[in-house]
Amino acid sequence: MSNPIAGFHIVRYGTAADQKFMANEFADTYDQIVINANMVAHMPSALRRFLEGTSKPYFIDPQTHAFQHDIGHLQSDSTEDIKRSIKGLIQAYGEPVLSIVGKRKESVLPDDFKNTARRVEFCQKVLQFQKDTLPKESEASDVAKYYEFAAEEEGTSPYSFAPSMVVAPYFYMTAKTFSEWLNINLMCAQDSRDACSGPLGVQIVISRELLVDRRMRNALCTRYRRLKPDCFLVWVDGLTEQEASEVELGALVDLLKRLTAEAQVVNLYGGYFSVALKHCGTVPGLSGVTHSMEYGESRGVVPVGGGIPVAKYYYPALHVRLPFRDAVRAARESGGFRSVASFRERVCGCAECVQVTARNPEVDFGVYGKTRPVSFFRRNQPIVTEYPIQETKEHCVRHYMWCKSQEFRFADCDAIRSSLAQAHEAFKRVLGLETVAHCNVWQRLLSS
């Protein structure tokens, strides 16, 4: 059976605009792609072409949790109708979501999955969608036929459009709903195991409150470990590593450690802390960490999909995206504006920064913060604010991706810990303790 996780560095396909980065200059910097099911339902042809271009293994997040939240999260803001991409998923997944969400416009409940036959059929359809959608698209494609021909000529195997694993249906659990959804999640995972001959991923999506509750965390680990899937995919709702408390991050470490004893584990929304957990041997068995293009290191379960954040400068020493004004302060404080060499040594020497700050770093750095004023009305009052221009976003994405590439590769634990301590000291005065406190928290947890 092939390995469902191709490597440690996993990138989430967020929007069509990500393609040009993921398929071209950054294709060699990461190992695998994860795609949300609503994107697959929405634009299968474009995704097929994209995957052909990257030749990367991928898997699909089936996003079944989408059907348990308030239906408003699935509706279009303008028409109040269910969004087209979600409608596609509802059709593909069938009952019970077709009747309850699609027709009655209600959210699903645990009771809706208690009927074994209905649940088994639902699981089969969710898996089928992941297995078939993109391969079917590719069968109809002339380009695929060309690739097949070319591969035959070269004596290599053509790109397989089959995902590297399929993911069982799953639902979000909070401390309050844990007892009600846990059994349904376990049954969906078991039914999927029975229905699937290839690698299976089991996704665990929990609230922060549940994460830190030792009793519930124990129960979760004990029950899930019995499933013996090929891979656990972990998603803690809205957990931002740079903002999380030591207790929360400690609980995350505990959860990941215990799950890695049973199967491969991927943190589906993780930042540098997760990456360093592996580098420092705190969670040596961690198989992968996922992020998106300049964001996606943290994600709330709602809204389901969508949302593109404002471009920010990823400050390498702090491993955090800073509002541009703070990035200016930090760069100046570090002495990075004194010369080109200082900038490369003290702020960033990635390929993008080398190109952008080639003459006068203090002035050139402005490229990462270039904006245009936009006027709009808020609460009936005219407001003018600034939004990054397209060029700014692209510079920020490239810089971010080069930084991430470096972070995933650089594994000297002593250097990681000491640079975190240095960054905390260097920037606490100029940026404030709240902005840098994570460096000390991470350092402590990586040392324990």
């Binding site: 302060r329 002035v363 009052q381 003018v384 604010t385």
Partner: protein, 144 residues
């Protein structure tokens, strides 16, 4: 007071101050974009640029915003209704070099100087140039 009403009241005060300053012959702009924020008022006094952030209550937030203004302006002020400035407020202003105006509802000049701002030593040339360019490209009455 709910946040919408508070915002509306703040906005009214900004507009009134703007009108009175203009009537007094001051070159003053309203709602000026700066490094991803929107500055309530920007005055030009000779070669100096002065920013003013209005807040009815949350002075900590106002100071945070005014700190960012110091990347482009010579002097950054917050403006609040007249009150006894607490020690915490005075310390925060002193530490960051931010000035404090009290808003005066009557008369020609809308401010009473409570704490003088220190001249910014952290002007970033790019932000300064962008601010000046925006001020040149808009008429002072816009965005009111």
């Amino acid at each position: 007071m709910n946040s919408e009403r508070k915002h509306t009241n703040e906005r009214k005060i900004v507009c009134r101050a703007h009108h009175r300053l203009r009537a007094a012959g001051v070159v003053v702009h309203c709602e000026v974009p700066l490094l991803g924020r929107s500055v309530d008022l920007v005055m030009k006094r000779g070669r100096h640029i002065i920013t003013i952030e209005f807040k009815l209550h949350d002075w900590r937030r106002a100071i945070k915003q005014a700190r960012d203004h110091r990347l482009a302006a010579d002097f950054a002020y917050i403006c609040m209704p007249r009150r006894q400035a607490t020690q915490a407020l005075q310390d925060a202003l002193r530490e960051d070099g931010i000035g404090l105006f009290y808003y005066i509802a009557e008369g020609r000049w809308p401010f009473e100087l409570a704490v003088k701002a220190r001249r910014s030593q952290e002007i970033w040339s790019v932000a300064r140039r962008n601010l000046l360019s925006y001020l040149r490209s808009t008429s002072p009455g816009e965005n009111v």
